[in-house]
C-alpha cells in the first residue's frame, strides 16, 4: 500500500472526512460532553462514524481524538487514560478502514496557553503531545492531522512530538480569522508566514481548517500556496452557525460547498474535507463533484 503522501505527490486529489463532533451529537453526545469518552463507552458509534465517512468516499478518516491531549481529557476526569483513549480512537477507525484508505490521528489544541501568555512550559506541552501521539500510533494510525491550532509555537511542539515519537507523516492545519488587514491567526501570523512556519517545523502537509466560511478558505489556500510547495489540506466549516428557532444550523449546503470546492482546489489544495457542521452527505457531494 502506498501511503497517502505518495498519492498526493503523484498528483491525486484526495478527499478527507467531515465533522466528528456534529456526527457524535446526532448519535447521543450531550452538548458539551466529552467526544473522546465515546471511544470507551460507545465504540459502536465511533466505528460507524468512520465507516459512514469511508462509505461516503473519504480517502482519509480522522480519529475521534481531537481533544485527546492530557490537558483536555483531565477536564473530564480521564487525565490518567490518555494513551488508552487515543489508542482506542485509532483502533475504532482502523477496524473499519478499507485496504486502500487511510486513518489519521486527530490532534487539537491543548486549550491552555504556553508561557508567557499562559501557565504551560514548552516541555510540559511537548510531553503531553508525546503521550497522545504514542496512544494513536499504538492504535495503528497511518499519519497524524494536527488541526485547528492558533499558535505556531504550540503547533511546532505537536509536530515535534510526532516526529520524535514515530516516523509517520504529519498534516498540520491552523485556524485563521479575518481582520481589517486580512487573514491572521489569533497570535498574529498571516497564511503565508504560517505556511513557512509549518514547513520549518517539519510538517509534510500544511493547511487550514475551521473558522471562516469557504469563500475565505479559497483565499487562505491561495496565500499558503504562494509561500510553499508542500501539499495543502483544507477542512471547511459548513458556514457560520446560526439559530433557527431553537436549533443551531450551518447554512452552507453540501451542493454549495461542493461547487465552491472547485475554487479551493483551483487555489492549490490537494486534500479537501469538511469541518464543523459537515456530515457524510457533504463528503459524498465532494466526491461526486471532484472525483467522478
Amino acid at each position: 500500500m502506498r501511503d497517502f503522501l505518495d498519492r498526493v505527490e503523484a498528483g491525486e486529489l484526495l478527499i478527507s472526512d467531515g465533522a466528528t463532533g456534529t456526527y457524535l451529537q446526532e448519535h447521543g453526545l450531550e452538548p458539551g460532553g466529552c467526544p473522546e469518552e465515546f471511544n470507551l463507552s460507545r465504540p459502536d458509534v465511533v466505528r460507524q462514524m468512520a465507516a459512514d465517512y469511508f462509505a461516503a468516499g473519504a480517502d482519509l478518516v480522522l480519529t475521534n481524538s481531537f481533544g485527546g491531549s492530557g490537558y483536555r481529557l483531565k477536564e473530564y476526569g480521564f487525565g490518567d487514560r490518555v494513551e488508552e483513549v487515543n489508542r482506542l480512537a485509532a483502533e475504532h477507525a482502523r477496524a473499519v478502514a478499507p485496504a486502500d484508505r487511510f486513518v489519521l490521528g486527530s490532534i487539537g489544541p491543548a486549550g491552555v496557553l504556553l508561557k508567557p501568555n499562559g501557565p504551560v512550559t514548552r516541555k510540559e506541552m511537548f510531553d503531553a503531545y508525546c503521550r497522545q501521539v504514542r496512544g494513536l500510533a499504538d492504535g495503528g494510525v497511518d499519519g497524524f492531522c494536527i488541526e485547528t491550532m492558533f499558535d505556531l509555537s504550540e503547533m511546532a511542539l505537536a509536530i515535534r512530538a510526532v516526529k520524535e515519537t514515530t516516523s509517520l507523516p504529519v498534516v498540520a492545519t491552523m485556524v485563521f480569522d479575518k481582520g481589517p488587514k486580512g487573514y491572521f491567526t489569533m497570535m498574529g501570523q498571516r497564511p503565508a508566514q504560517v505556511a513557512e512556519g509549518l514547513a520549518r517545523a517539519g510538517a509534510d502537509v500544511i493547511g487550514s481548517n475551521c473558522g471562516l466560511p469557504i469563500g475565505h478558505m479559497v483565499e487562505i489556500v491561495a496565500a499558503m500556496r504562494s509561500a510553499s510547495a508542500l501539499p495543502i489540506l483544507t477542512h471547511v466549516n459548513a458556514g457560520m452557525p446560526k439559530i433557527e428557532k431553537t436549533d443551531i444550523v450551518y447554512p452552507d449546503s453540501p451542493e454549495f460547498m461542493a461547487e465552491e470546492m472547485d475554487r479551493v482546489v483551483g487555489a492549490g489544495a490537494n486534500i479537501v474535507g469538511g469541518c464543523c457542521g459537515t456530515s457524510p452527505d457533504y463528503i459524498r457531494a465532494f466526491v461526486r463533484r471532484l472525483k467522478d
Binding site: P31, G32, G111
Partner: protein, 253 residues
Amino acid sequence: MAELGDVENEFLCNELEQYVEEEVEKQRMVDLYAAISLSMQAIAAAIIDGRHHDVDRMTREALDKDVQALEVMDDGLIAGMALVGIKFRDNFIFVPEVLACARAMKAGMAHIEPILSASGIDPVGKVIMGTVKGDLHDIGKNLCIMMLRGSGFQVIDLGVDTSPDDFIGAVEEHGANLVGMSALLTTTMPNMGRTIEAFIDADLRDDVKFMVGGAPVTEEFAEELGADAYGADAVECVEVAKRLTAESASVHP
C-alpha cells in the same frame, strides 16, 4: 484642539503617527495625550510598550508624589490601553502583545486598587464572568477577564461549566449588574439563552445586562438569544462592559 507636536512624549508621538489611521480618532487621541502630564504620558507609553516593571515603578513614584490614584488610573493606565485597543482592532498587534500590555496594566493596578477601595471609591464596574454550562474552554474568557481587570473592573470569575443557577447566585451575592458569558462550542452556545431565560424566570432579567462572546458566537446570534451586547474579542469586551455599565447606571441611579 491639540496638535501632534503638543504630545511631548516622543514614544507616544511616534505611536500616534504610525498606528492611528483615521483622522477623527487621531485627533481624539492627540487631544487625550496632549492634556495629560509628562509623567502620565510616560506611564501610558510604558503600558503601550508592555514594560510592566516600568509601569510598576512609575505608578509607585507618582503615588509617592501625591498624584491621585484615580488620576494615575485614568490618565496613565487607561489612556495607554486606549491606544492598545486601537492597535489590536486594526491588526497592528495581536493577542501576545495585548497580553503583555495587560500584564503592565495589572502591575499598575496592583498599587491603585487598594487605595481606591480603601477610600470607598467604587470600581469602574462589577462583572460576573463564566463559560456556560457544558463548556470547559476558558482561554477567551480569561483574556477578557485580564482586560477587564486591567481597565478597573471588579471581576468575579465563575470559571468553566457555569450553570444558570451559579450565574444567578453570583449576581445576588455580589450585587453585580453585568454578566459576561463565553462559549467555544456550537452545542453549548444555546446555554447562553437558557441562562438568560433562567434570569427571566427568577424575575431578575431587568436587574442585569448580558454580554456574550466566543469563537462561534456572532452579533446576530447574540441578538437572537436575547443578550444585551456582543463582543468579538477581549478589547471589545471592555468597551461593551463600559457601555453596558453606563446604561445600567442611567437606569438604576
